[in-house]
């Protein structure tokens, strides 16, 4: 009986492992498959025989050159960076302040405030974008960089609030009291006591906010004009209209970018003990 029980258990464990391996393959393979294809010398989206033979002739940097030399992509990258950095700065400053307030046990109406501040993250972006289109058009902000900066900052703040609140959860309030009793003002207390402790949360939140803006396409589709085309907007038309392997080169660049961001955030999270 024990033998057959052990046999079943082993079979169960092996099939569980096999199943999980398949799911991991499902998660990762689609992302990895893009990378070699972006070096395809032919304008195809699939592996050529030469590529499978690992023939160096079958690989080239031609699509990377195409992208680097293309005025549209260059402007899109500039727009993405301008909008992303401005939105991140705004979101991080406002979000960190708010998190400091939310973490205080004295904060009145905490659940309500939290719901309000998190709402941009849980609202489907199609709804936010539709509403923003109506409202920002009325304010004369449609088809401006400022409009997109405000929109992206609004979508990014919840991430800052959440990550900074999480680092503050383990913060000992006696530290601020000690600092105050030693004669430091609130600004100095913040800079010398609180900021070093919450810094990993602030940086993670900023990275989340930047990644949100850098990947956001729906508000850009609704509100952006030709002058506000961002990288994802350019990819969107690339996928819909003239699908060319140049897209895969951009995608590979974005994957590298995502990996760097992810590793930094994970490092910070571990340092914060979150």
């Amino acid at each position: 009986m024990t033998v057959s029980g052990g046999g079943w258990e082993r079979a169960g464990r092996v099939s569980h492992l096999a199943f999980c391996a398949a799911v991991f393959l499902f998660l990762i393979a689609p992302i990895l498959v893009i990378i070699p294809l972006s070096f395809n010398v032919e304008p195809y989206f699939t592996f050529t025989e030469g590529m499978l033979r690992l023939d160096p002739e079958a690989y080239s940097l031609r699509w990377y050159r195409t992208v680097a030399e293309d005025e549209g992509w260059r402007r899109a990258l500039a727009n993405s960076l301008i909008i992303g950095i401005a939105a991140t700065a705004l979101a991080t400053a406002l979000g960190t302040l708010a998190a400091l307030g939310l973490a205080s046990p004295a904060m009145p109406g905490r659940p309500l405030a939290m719901s309000l501040l998190i709402s941009p993250m849980v609202t489907p972006v199609i709804i936010s974008a539709a509403g923003m289109f109506f409202f920002y058009s009325k304010m004369g902000l449609a088809q401006t960089h400022l409009g997109l900066v405000l929109a992206h900052a609004a979508l990014g703040t919840p991430f800052v609030v959440i990550t900074v609140t999480a680092t503050l959860a383990g913060f000992d309030p006696n530290l601020t009291r000690a600092s105050a009793s030693l004669g430091a003002g609130p600004v100095r207390t913040f800079a010398r006591v609180q900021l070093p402790i919450i810094a990993p949360g602030v940086v993670s939140g900023a990275l989340f906010a930047f990644a949100t803006s850098f990947d956001e396409v729906v508000t850009v589709l609704f509100m952006g004009g030709l002058d506000q085309r961002t990288v994802p907007r350019q990819m969107w038309s690339g996928i819909r209209e003239e699908i060319s392997p140049a897209i895969l080169a951009v995608a590979t660049f974005l994957i590298a970018f995502a990996l760097v961001f992810m590793l930094v955030v994970e490092r910070l999270r571990r340092r914060a003990g979150g």
Partner: protein
């Protein structure tokens, strides 16, 4: 002021205030504008105030009096001059199809008319539609400033001749089937994510810390990768000339001429969305599993329970908070999904948000887009409240 700031409540609130104001101005105000737009439409009312005042006294049965015709033609000509007639005609056309061309044509011809004995005869000679009470009722309906017609339209309802609200005939229903499809697809994706994600979360939770961290990174890679990149990947993999079909042909599993269409249809939407949303299922379940002491399962085993028994009676119930959180999160995210279905869904894989985008950008029926958006928002808020009850909004975490 400085004195008040010394109070901790005031100081905390003062820190939260700037962001609250910012969110109200950049995010909540737009949502309120959208909700307003779904019920408020002054376009026709502003363009034809006198006509509408007269029509409100009209019994709605026979063609209205000469005075109505006269005022209406004057106001149509005025609207034509300030270039708002096209938008007015479009609004009326949405109440009664075919009237846009009648209005535009009539205004064009009436401009050439100087003296007439009867505006009624002049207009009816341009289009007999002006002699029908139905036409004038449509103008009266389009002239309502506060209107429920966008909501009726969005729910496939209409008013019959007596003004009762009835369901559209089955072949003309568009939005209810789409809403049902969106809910069904979201549910399907949620179940799929749970089936794939639960065993994965279990594996990670059971692994030694170092390996668990590594596996967790593998789950996080797709989470961080750009949505458009992941969608592109699926196009590359699944299209008829794509990698998966090539592989199947090379392996001799399918013939070259029988390549399977796995994308630009519902399959594409479901596969790509499951891929996108799976991390949102794994992470909450994993974070609950991590807190379950392994002692419970050993205790169950030592009391003679087989693994399936112990799992069902001891482990699974303890993971339910994570399962609930992950499922709700995935469901909420999928009912509002737009990008992926738009790019890989083809005709059959479209969801309700694609219809909102269509009315925002192509048909320019913004009132209807706003009504659809408001209905979707209502669904999300309801689910969000449920999430708050089950999990607590405070406990929302990232990774």
């Amino acid at each position: 002021m400085a004195g008040a700031l010394r109070k901790p409540q005031v100081r905390a609130a003062a820190l939260v205030l700037p962001l609250s104001v910012f969110i109200l101005a950049t995010f909540v105000a737009p949502l309120v504008t959208m909700l307003t737009r779904s019920v408020y439409d002054p376009m026709v009312a502003d363009a034809m105030p006198e006509t509408l005042a007269l029509l409100r006294e009209w019994d709605g049965q026979d063609a209205p009096s000469e005075a109505v015709f006269e005022v209406a033609s004057r106001e149509m000509l005025k609207a034509r001059d300030d270039r708002s007639l096209g938008r007015v005609a479009t609004r009326v056309n949405r109440v009664e199809a075919g009237l846009r061309s009648v209005i535009m044509k009539s205004a064009r011809r009436l401009r050439l008319v100087n003296e007439v004995d009867s505006w009624r005869d002049a207009m009816i000679s341009i289009s007999p539609k002006w002699g029908e009470a139905k036409t004038w009722r449509a103008i009266r309906r389009a002239g309502e400033r506060i209107t429920t017609r966008h909501y009726l339209h969005a729910l496939d309802l209409q008013r019959d001749a007596d003004g009762n609200v009835i369901l559209q005939p089955p072949q003309r229903r568009v939005y209810l089937p789409l809403l049902r499809r969106t809910l069904a697809v979201s549910l399907g994706i949620t179940v799929l994510c749970l089936l794939l994600g639960y065993p994965l979360a279990y594996l990670i939770a059971q692994a030694p810390p170092r390996r668990a961290n590594l596996l967790l990174l593998l789950v996080l890679v797709p989470f961080w990768t750009s949505l458009l990149v992941r969608t592109t990947s699926w196009i590359v993999l699944l299209q008829t000339e794509g990698v998966v079909n090539d592989l199947l042909v090379a392996l001799g599993l399918i013939a070259d001429e029988n390549r399977i269409s796995m994308i630009y249809n519902m399959t594409g939407t479901v596969v790509a969305m499951t891929h996108v949303l799976l991390p949102f299922m794994v992470l909450p379940i994993y974070s609950v599993m991590r807190t379950i002491p392994p002692l419970y399962m050993s205790a169950a085993a030592s009391l003679g329970a087989s693994f399936p028994q112990a799992f069902r009676r001891v482990y699974w119930p303890q993971t339910l908070p994570g399962v609930g959180a992950g499922s709700l999160l995935v469901f909420i995210l999928s009912i509002g999904y737009y990008i992926t279905p738009a790019l890989v869904g083809g005709q059959s894989g479209q969801l309700i948000s694609n219809m909102i985008a269509y009315h925002m950008q192509q048909s320019l029926n913004w009132g209807l887009a706003a009504a659809l958006g408001s209905i979707l928002l209502g669904c999300v808020v309801a689910l969000y409240l449920l999430y708050d009850r089950v999990v607590g909004i405070d406990r929302m975490r990232l990774g």
